[in-house]
Symmetry: C2
Subunit: 497 residues, 2 copies
């Protein structure tokens, strides 16, 4: 055993960042779930203090030196993977000059803050100058990171969320989806128009909805010894791998939103709960990427949630929660869950139309970053693509158009593709599970979900960031990202093809 | 305006400690209220990391130098008071050698951890060796702090909780109480034996109890925009002045414990909520001392809670919560709340017998620290005093005797006096309020509690640590601690004298 003093020191530094990050993460959760409004200012000061502290620790020049030295030490493969992820972390924080980071922080704060009022007022004109400044910073960030990483500017931004993914791949994949998606949507709508779907009769009391969500989390084998479900305005999966905090929201006239949202967050949550425990605290134990994370939430919400056999597991839980009614038959629930209807809002979109929302955003934001479009051009580009992809007229409706998402005001260019890449990976995982277990559909219908969870745990969850995303996909499913599985999934589920 | 660079730098350092302490405080609250058991290990690591970080910041030699330099700067009176409190903070953390602090931390961890199982098992023999080690460390700490502060060893420990208080004062005050308390208890019991008291008929559903507690907090003008009420095994007041987190606990066969406990915590909470807002973040804005804090919780729970006029405000809330029954008349509620009955357990004690529990602990722990008694002697000293003060035989019952409190296992010698000093200060505040507002009792009965809260806010809450405790008491009530008010209060309330 060779001694590895630099590497060992790095593991202690990253463990320390992890420990402090724990308090930051729990305070974020508390802010969304518990904090009374009067606590806001003091909390903001505390969070700023912690962010500054973590930033200082992550930009400590001693860290760069240790990363350099550790590269020359005799590390085993796992340690080397951990070192690779440490370097990624370092590059992410140290890749931009302080002044640019501050300018970005100012620009996004101002833009996002104003957007919260401008969006409901449909005030594109007020929003535009703020967004232009955010875009200007993002372009400069992209340029600098691009030079550093040796990839295209947009790719450099996307790399923060989806390491290793490149826009030539995304463009090829999304371009292919574009060729068949509008036709598929039309066919599905035509087919579903002959289906009878019963609307559930409310109200659906919140305590019963909460019990239903917790029951469905148990069905999904969420570990309540290491996590909980609470309520927040915007549902999310937070906390830490050892203590996962999921949230949902309830309204008593409708229960499917909270139920399906909870299944979604439970997918994120189980990924976190089952990351490699022995390595927790080290970058190698982190979830692999945003698309892989999304592939877990969508495995739960879409692959399982929309599965006809799974509806048979949900039905008794729904009946137990609200009493029996004809709309709660397994078949009707499945029809409700898989109903396809083009709409304005991405977060409300069904599994089939969702990629259209992502593709249009990807095309626009890439053009923005690469300078082929300006912020002023967004509405026209948006209207054109919504018409093309979903046949919807969005002219003049900014609030349900390009102002609907927080991502651009927050400067998160390069994030959107992850949603649909995640849906594609999820379909790819289920194709692999089906190859390994040809009886998987029957087993799901019987409530034997372990066959799915065991596969995900073995191939995805327990790997953390041990491999690059391509290696992970290859080891798990025998191939890197292959969108054919997603197309096949949609055709099978929605057209019975 | 002279420039005060050292002082200014210190205010930034302390603001920073405050900001980081915010996250520590919220995580502690979360641990008691929300955290699932599986989160324990990671949380402990995070809290240890933060404690180590704060310790490093608070022992930074640059701080000592700045404190020295700031003393020579041209500060106004308020700044000078802030500097005084900064120095106290510094002395508290830097007064002991690292090795002794670590030995203490090990000893109390071990003792407290084992005590949690030894107490229910009545295992004094198992507890004793751990306690001896805790005591040994406490004696050494007392010795070192004593030399540093130039006060007696026990006083040096007490000073951590009750700055400026000395054992000659405590001994004189408690010695005086000792002369009349057993007789008073006998007289009260004799008097109450002729009263008819109706027992409330349960069950008392937890949701109704929770609503009652929140209603009573509103009655006490707790600011729910800057705080909340939750449930934990051991009720406490936590969080931060800007976001106060109170807890209580419920059992459905009894409601007065949670109600009176909530009134108690609300007193702590309103003190925190109304500390000098402009100074929050600076040591001068902290609550003055443990006894002063307790004087607020006891002003709420005992002075107001046991007030016959206040029972008329509680009665409709109780009836609203559980429906009407004869036991919920104002008079009967007041009799239930003011019922005096000597018992084994301090935390369950009524207002009249409580000082007996404190006096006996004070006498024993002072003898322990000063070397006049050893840990082995505790049971005999305990039995003797319980017989003397409360007429109760405690021989052989360690778990409800000297093993009942966490304070000694946790090494908190010098804390106990604060409880009864707080009760005395509370009586002193109410005497002052009564002098300023001779109609205060009628106004309380009418629900006009503002007269009390305004006085407390003006004289105690808004002062923070602007003055020493003696100065605070003098400014508020025209005299330093005067236990005659407590005696008069008990005689008036319990003997109609």
């Amino acid at each position: 055993m060779m001694s590895t003093p630099a590497y060992d020191a790095l593991t202690r530094d990253f463990q320390r960042l992890y420990n402090l990050g724990h308090l930051q993460s729990m305070a974020s959760w508390d802010q969304a779930v518990n904090m009374p409004p009067g606590g806001n200012e003091a909390r903001a000061a505390a969070m700023t203090e912690m962010a500054a502290l973590l930033h200082r620790l992550r930009t400590d020049p001693a860290l760069a030196a240790a990363l350099e030295r550790a590269g020359g030490e005799s590390l085993d493969d796992t340690q080397r993977a951990n070192l690779r992820e440490m370097r990624r972390d370092w590059a992410e924080v140290n890749g931009l000059p302080e002044a640019l980071v501050e300018r970005g922080s100012m620009a996004t704060s101002r833009c996002e803050h104003a957007w919260r009022k401008q969006r409901p007022a449909n005030d594109w004109a007020g929003f535009l100058p703020n967004l232009k400044e955010v875009l200007s910073v993002a372009r400069e960030e992209a340029q600098r990171l691009s030079e550093r990483l040796g990839v295209a500017p947009y790719d450099a931004l996307m790399d923060r969320f989806e390491p290793g993914m490149r826009s030539d791949v995304v463009s090829r994949v999304f371009g292919e989806v574009r060729t068949w998606l509008p036709g598929l949507i039309r066919d599905v709508i035509a087919r579903q128009s002959t289906e009878e779907v019963l609307a559930p009769q409310g109200p659906f009391p919140v305590p019963a909805q909460r019990a239903l969500c917790e029951q469905s989390m148990r069905l999904m084998q969420f570990n309540f010894e290491a996590g909980r479900l609470d309520v927040s305005t915007h549902p999310f999966s937070g906390g830490m791998p050892e203590d996962v905090r999921l949230t949902t929201r309830f309204s008593d006239h409708e229960f499917l939103t909270s139920l399906m949202g909870t299944l979604h967050e439970t997918g994120h949550g189980r990924y976190e709960q089952n990351l490699p425990r022995h390595w927790l605290g080290q970058p190698m134990a982190r979830a692999r990427s945003m698309a892989i994370h999304e592939s877990q939430s969508l495995s739960f919400e879409m692959q399982l949630g929309g599965h006809p056999g799974f509806a048979g597991l949900l039905a008794p839980l729904v009946q137990q929660a609200f009493g029996d009614q004809p709309a709660f038959s397994a078949q009707n629930l499945n029809r409700l869950i898989t109903r396809v209807k083009p709409g304005l809002i991405r977060v409300d979109a069904d599994e089939v139309t969702y990629p259209a929302h992502v593709i249009l955003r990807y095309e626009i934001e890439r053009a923005l970053i690469e300078g082929q479009a300006e912020a002023e051009d967004i509405p026209a580009l948006w209207d054109e693509r919504m018409q093309e992809l979903l046949g919807i007229d969005t002219r003049g409706n900014f609030k349900d158009g390009p102002m609907q998402d927080v991502h651009w005001p927050a400067g998160l260019f390069g994030y959107f593709p992850c949603y649909s890449l995640g849906a594609m990976y999820a379909a790819q995982w289920f194709a692999a599970i089906r190859r390994a277990h040809p009886d998987v559909d029957a087993r799901i219908a019987q409530g034997d979900l372990g066959v799915v969870f065991d596969w995900l745990s073995q191939h995805i969850w327990s790997a953390g960031s041990r491999w690059t995303t391509d290696e992970l996909a290859l080891r798990a499913s025998g191939e890197t990202l292959n969108p054919a599985h997603f197309k096949a999934h949609l055709q099978t589920r929605y057209l019975g093809a």
